[in-house]
C-alpha cells in the first residue's frame, strides 16, 4: 500500500516539475502575492505577515484548481487511465498519491513565500514567531482541503477546464460562506459560519488551534477524497 502510493506520488511530482505549466502557475502565484504583500508592507509599519496570510486564501481560489485540474482529468483524456487502472494499484492509492503530490506543490509555493518572512526578520522587530507558524499551518491545512476538492473535481471529467471550473466553484462557495453572513437569516448564520473554511482558517491563524477546526478541515479532506475514490470506482460500472 505505502509503496504504491509513493511510486505514484513520485511520478506525479516529477511530471509536475517537468511541465512548464507548474512553473508558470508557481511564478504567477508568488509574484502576485509578493506585490500585494510588499506594496503595503512599509506603509502599515507592522511586524507581521497578516496581509500575506489574508491574501493567499484568495489566490488559492485560482492556484489550487489550476494545479489539481489535471490530476485525473489528464489521465482520462490521454487514455493513460486504462494503464493506471489495470496495473496493480488500487483506486484509493491513485487518489492519495495524486492528492499528496498536489499538496507538495502547495507546500512548495508556501515555502517560497518564506522570503517575506526573512525580510521581516531583517527589517522588523517584536516578531510573533508563534503567530507566523500557526498562520502557515492554517494555510497548509486549508490548502489540503482545497486540494481534496480539486482532486475530486478532476475525477468527474476528462476536460481540465471543466475540472478547473468545478473546483473553483466549490472552493468559492466554501470561501464566501462567512462573508455573506449578514444576508442570511439568524438561525442559518451559525451553520454557514461553521461550514466556512475561512472561519476555521482565521481561528487557526490567530494561534488558537482548536480541535473543532482541525476536525472540520480533516472531515472536508476525508469527504472529498472518499468521493474521489468512489467516482473513480464508478467509472468501471458505467
Amino acid at each position: 500500500m505505502h509503496s504504491n502510493v509513493s511510486v505514484l506520488y513520485r511520478k506525479e511530482v516529477s511530471s509536475f516539475f517537468n511541465s512548464p505549466v507548474a512553473y508558470i502557475t508557481l511564478i504567477v502565484f508568488l509574484v502576485i502575492n509578493a506585490w500585494f504583500f510588499t506594496s503595503t508592507f512599509f506603509l502599515i509599519n507592522e511586524s507581521d505577515l497578516r496581509t500575506l496570510f489574508s491574501v493567499i486564501p484568495i489566490f488559492y481560489l485560482f492556484f489550487i484548481p489550476a494545479i489539481t485540474m489535471g490530476l485525473i482529468a489528464r489521465e482520462r483524456n490521454s487514455d493513460t487511465m486504462e494503464l493506471l487502472t489495470t496495473i496493480p494499484i488500487s483506486d484509493s492509492e491513485i487518489i492519495i498519491g495524486k492528492f499528496l503530490a498536489a499538496l507538495t506543490l502547495i507546500g512548495t509555493a508556501l515555502l517560497f513565500t518564506l522570503v517575506h518572512f526573512f525580510s521581516l526578520l531583517i527589517v522588523g522587530n517584536n516578531i510573533d514567531i508563534g503567530a507566523i507558524i500557526s498562520g502557515y499551518l492554517g494555510l497548509l491545512i486549508v490548502g489540503a482541503a482545497y486540494a481534496a476538492v480539486g482532486t475530486f473535481s478532476s475525477t468527474t471529467t476528462s476536460n481540465q477546464i471543466v475540472a478547473f471550473l468545478i473546483s473553483f466553484l466549490v472552493i468559492f462557495i466554501f470561501f464566501i460562506l462567512d462573508k455573506i453572513l449578514i444576508f442570511v437569516p439568524g438561525f442559518l448564520s451559525s451553520i454557514f459560519q461553521y461550514l466556512s473554511i475561512d472561519y476555521h482558517l482565521s481561528n487557526i491563524s490567530r494561534g488558537v488551534i482548536d480541535s473543532r477546526n482541525i476536525i472540520y478541515l480533516g472531515s472536508i479532506i476525508a469527504f472529498f477524497l472518499l468521493l474521489s475514490i468512489r467516482t473513480l470506482e464508478m467509472r468501471r460500472w458505467r
Binding site: 509503496s3 490521454s78 489495470t86 496495473i87 460500472w237 458505467r238
Partner: protein
C-alpha cells in the same frame, strides 16, 4: 487458465457483450477476432479489470475479477488498443515507473531492462522522450510495458494496428516467441493477423461468439465446397434454377438478374467437377455463357459469412 463465464456488459442501453463464455488454456495463443465494434475490446477490458461486468464473471486460475482484481492484475501484462503511454517521460523513466509499479527489485531492474530492450528492439531510443517516438516505436514501448514483469498472461488488443508491414512482421514474430511459454490473447479485426499468430480463434460478432475453434475446425465446416459463378444470356431465372437437375449435389446459392443477363452462383463438393455438364445443359437450353468462374472457399469467406450473417439479424 482463463475462463470467461456468461459475460454480459451493457453501456446504458447498448449491449456491448451479450452473454459470452470461452476458455483459454495455459500456454495457448488465442486469437480474438471480430469486426470493429463487435465487443472485443470490452471483453478484454473486463478481463483486465478496467471495466466491471454487468453480469457474469472472469476466472483466472481460482481467482475472479470481482473479488481478486489486484492478484489478477499482477498476473496479466496488458497492451490496450489505445497504447497509453506517458508522453512527458522518456522511455527509461517510463520503464522505471512500470518496474516500480510491478514491484521489480532494484537489483534486478537493470538486467530485466536489458532483456526487454533486446526483445522489443528499443536499443536506440531508450533515452528519447516518448513524445518524439514514431508510432511503431510507441507500440514497442507499449509491448515492453506489458511484458516487463514477465507475466504469465499477455493480453494484446490490436497490437499491430497502424504499423507498416515490416513492423507487423516483427511484432508477430515477437508474439509467437512469447507465446511459446505464455498464455496470450491477441485481438484483431484482421484475419491474417490471427491466422499468423494464433493456435485457436474465437470469432465474436455483435457481442456474441459466432465461432470457436482451431483454424482447421473452422475451415472444415466450409471446406470441400466450390463456388461456381455463372453469367448467362438468353435465360430466365426460372429456367436457370432448374440447373440443379444436372447433378443432385449441386445447390443454388444465389441467383439474380443483372441487366439482360442472369447471374447465378452454384455450390458443390470439391470432389465434383460438373462444369462440362453445365456447359452442355446451357447449350441444350440455348443459353449464352458470358462467364463461368470457380472459387474455393477461404477462411476469409468463413469469417465474412459468420460476421455478416450475424450482423444482419441485429
Amino acid at each position: 487458465m482463463i475462463e470467461v463465464r456468461n459475460l454480459v456488459k451493457n453501456y446504458g442501453d447498448v449491449k456491448a457483450v451479450r452473454d459470452i463464455s470461452f476458455t483459454v488454456e495455459n500456454g495457448e495463443i488465442l486469437g480474438f477476432l471480430g469486426p470493429n465494434g463487435a465487443g472485443k475490446t470490452t471483453t478484454l477490458r473486463v478481463i483486465t479489470s478496467y471495466l466491471s461486468p454487468t453480469s457474469g464473471n472472469v476466472f483466472v486460475d481460482n481467482l475472479n475479477v470481482l473479488d481478486n482484481s489486484m492478484e489478477i492484475r499482477s498476473l496479466i501484462g496488458y497492451l490496450p488498443e489505445m497504447n497509453p503511454l506517458y508522453h512527458e517521460m522518456n522511455v527509461y523513466e517510463f520503464m522505471e515507473f512500470v518496474a516500480n509499479v510491478r514491484k521489480i527489485e532494484k537489483s534486478k531492474f537493470k538486467s530485466r531492462l536489458n532483456e526487454v530492450i533486446e526483445l522489443c528492439g528499443l536499443k536506440g531510443v531508450i533515452h528519447k522522450s516518448i513524445s518524439e517516438l514514431s508510432k511503431g516505436y510507441c507500440q514497442r514501448v507499449g509491448l515492453a510495458q506489458a511484458i516487463f514483469h514477465d507475466p504469465e498472461i499477455l493480453i494484446l488488443d490490436e497490437p499491430t494496428i497502424g504499423l507498416d508491414p515490416n513492423q507487423i512482421a516483427e511484432i508477430r514474430k515477437l508474439i509467437k516467441n512469447l507465446g511459446k511459454e505464455k498464455t496470450v490473447i491477441i485481438s484483431s479485426h484482421v484475419l491474417q493477423e490471427i491466422q499468423a499468430t494464433a493456435d485457436r480463434m474465437v470469432i465474436i460478432n455483435d457481442g456474441e461468439i459466432v465461432a470457436n475453434g482451431t483454424i482447421e475446425d473452422l475451415m472444415s465446416g466450409f471446406k470441400g465446397k466450390t463456388r461456381l459463378i455463372l453469367e448467362l444470356k438468353n435465360a430466365t431465372e426460372e429456367s436457370v434454377s432448374k440447373i440443379k437437375s444436372v447433378n443432385s449435389e449441386i445447390s443454388l446459392a444465389d441467383i439474380k438478374t443483372q441487366g439482360d443477363s442472369i447471374v447465378a452462383s452454384l455450390e458443390y463438393p470439391n470432389s465434383l467437377d460438373p462444369r462440362q455438364n453445365i456447359f452442355d445443359y446451357a447449350l441444350e437450353n440455348k443459353w449464352t455463357i458470358l462467364e463461368m468462374s470457380r472459387h474455393k472457399t477461404s477462411l476469409e469467406d468463413v469469417f465474412r459469412n459468420l460476421t455478416i450473417e450475424g450482423g444482419a439479424d441485429a
